[in-house]
């Protein structure tokens, strides 16, 4: 009986083994490359459902240099909701509407946009090819608990999952690409009431 249990346990453990393969050396092609360049600014029609507050408006994304980007969200009528800046590893809050201006909400939002824009210092550790598809999945050592799905032929990012803490687990999907820029982006949190939906309306 004990032997049977032991064999069952070994079979169970073996069956749970990750299908990811460690890649020792490779090109950096699986480091997620941001879809914005210094010369591109993007305007998305955006809906944010944040902790019981609903906001609809325009999200303007403007890179200012190779390592900084400005993110401004305003209502359709022009009133500004927030104005964030990502500069290297620093986040700068230029303005935030009182209803959203709480450290937890602001930090979550700005970090979501940092991850969404793939402004992360990623280091690859493991990859796997999803069977019968052109999608490969990469697990990163840094940032921790991050999985990115790339689609061939140009290895564009189509999904990114990131878990930063016990309560923060976010899934970002990118779709309807035009010249490598996603027309649709969805950000959905698993444990907190926060979702963001972006639809591209203008590229400059």
């Amino acid at each position: 009986m004990r032997l049977l249990l032991l064999i069952s346990l070994i079979i169970f453990i073996c069956s749970c083994k990750s299908t990811y393969k460690t890649i020792k050396s490779d090109t950096e092609k699986y480091y997620p490359a941001s879809f914005i360049s210094e010369s591109t600014s993007l305007l998305y029609k955006t809906k944010i459902d944040a902790f019981g507050n609903y906001f609809s408006g325009l999200l303007f994304i403007k890179p200012q240099s190779s390592d900084s980007v400005r993110i401004v969200f305003m209502s359709e009528l022009g009133l500004k909701f927030f104005d964030f800046e990502i500069i290297g590893n620093e986040n700068k809050i230029n303005y935030c509407l009182e209803a959203l201006n709480k450290p937890y909400i602001v930090n979550t939002l700005v970090n979501d946009f940092r991850i969404m824009l793939l402004k992360v210092d990623a280091k690859k550790i493991k990859s796997k090819q999803i069977a019968d598809s052109d999608i490969s999945s990469i697990k990163y050592l840094k940032p921790k608990k991050t999985i990115c799905k790339f689609q061939k032929p140009d290895d564009r990012v189509i999904e990114l999952k990131h878990k930063s803490s016990f309560s923060k687990s976010v899934r970002i999907t990118y779709s309807d690409f035009i010249n490598k820029i996603p027309e649709k982006i969805n950000i959905i949190h698993r444990y907190i009431k926060l979702s963001i939906e972006l639809n591209l309306i203008e590229k400059k």
Binding site: K62, E76, L77, G78, K80, Y95, L97
Partner: protein, 212 residues
């Protein structure tokens, strides 16, 4: 090098904006202006106009522009229809606000949303000619240049002041209609709405203020 070019351009843009205000002089005869506005607006039953909305962000050369059609019908019916680069419809019918965004419609009481209530009150009062009776909520300063009478409104309420530091209304001297509204935020950012191709007292059906 690019940084200096950008800074020069930014300063030049600021200079142009300051210059636009620089030709304004204080309006001495405010009574005559109020009477003229009152006379004209009493005769105005409807206004239909195209509009261009520009969002100017400080330290960015980009201007975010949207366009659409504006309609007003006495006493308190307003239609803002954004057509480019996105579709968005706002209807104000007395104290009810309806928004159509893509295929979703949302109707709520104007007083439940302070930003909309303020916009509703300001625009409605401009068109009805009663904007100059807003001393309880705004400090009003009067200016003019060759083209416009300009009323600069500084909010008195803290919750409004935290969002907007000043609202400037530009009344066209030729027909006393509002040609521009500039909403200055507490930061250096501002929104400018310019009304074009204005038509007064054209027939506008009540159905234009109901969402289908």
């Amino acid at each position: 090098m690019f940084k200096y070019i950008f800074l020069c351009f930014f300063r030049f843009s600021q200079f142009i904006l300051i210059a636009q205000d620089a030709d304004l002089k204080i309006l001495s005869d405010t009574v005559a202006f109020k009477n003229k506005l009152s006379q004209i607006t009493q005769k105005t039953q409807t206004i239909e106009s195209d509009f261009v909305q520009e969002k100017h962000l400080s330290m960015l050369t980009d201007v975010i522009t949207s366009e659409g059609v504006f309609k007003f019908k006495k006493e308190n019916k307003i239609r803002w229809e954004y057509q480019k680069p996105f579709k968005y419809l706002v209807l104000i019918n007395n104290n009810k606000i309806s928004i159509k965004d893509e295929n979703k419609t949302n109707t709520f009481d104007a007083k439940s949303n302070k930003a909309f209530e303020m916009m509703n009150t300001i625009i409605g009062n401009c068109l009805k000619g009663t904007i100059l009776n807003s001393q309880a909520d705004f400090k009003l300063n009067y200016f003019e240049n060759t083209e416009f009478y300009v009323v600069k409104m500084i909010p008195k309420k803290k919750e409004v002041l935290s969002v907007l530091s000043e609202i400037s209304l530009f009344f066209d001297k030729s027909d006393m209609t509002v040609s521009k509204i500039k909403m200055q935020e507490s930061t250096d950012d501002f929104t400018l709405i310019v009304f074009k191709n204005k038509k007064q007292n054209v027939n506008i059906s009540d159905e234009a203020f109901i969402i289908n």
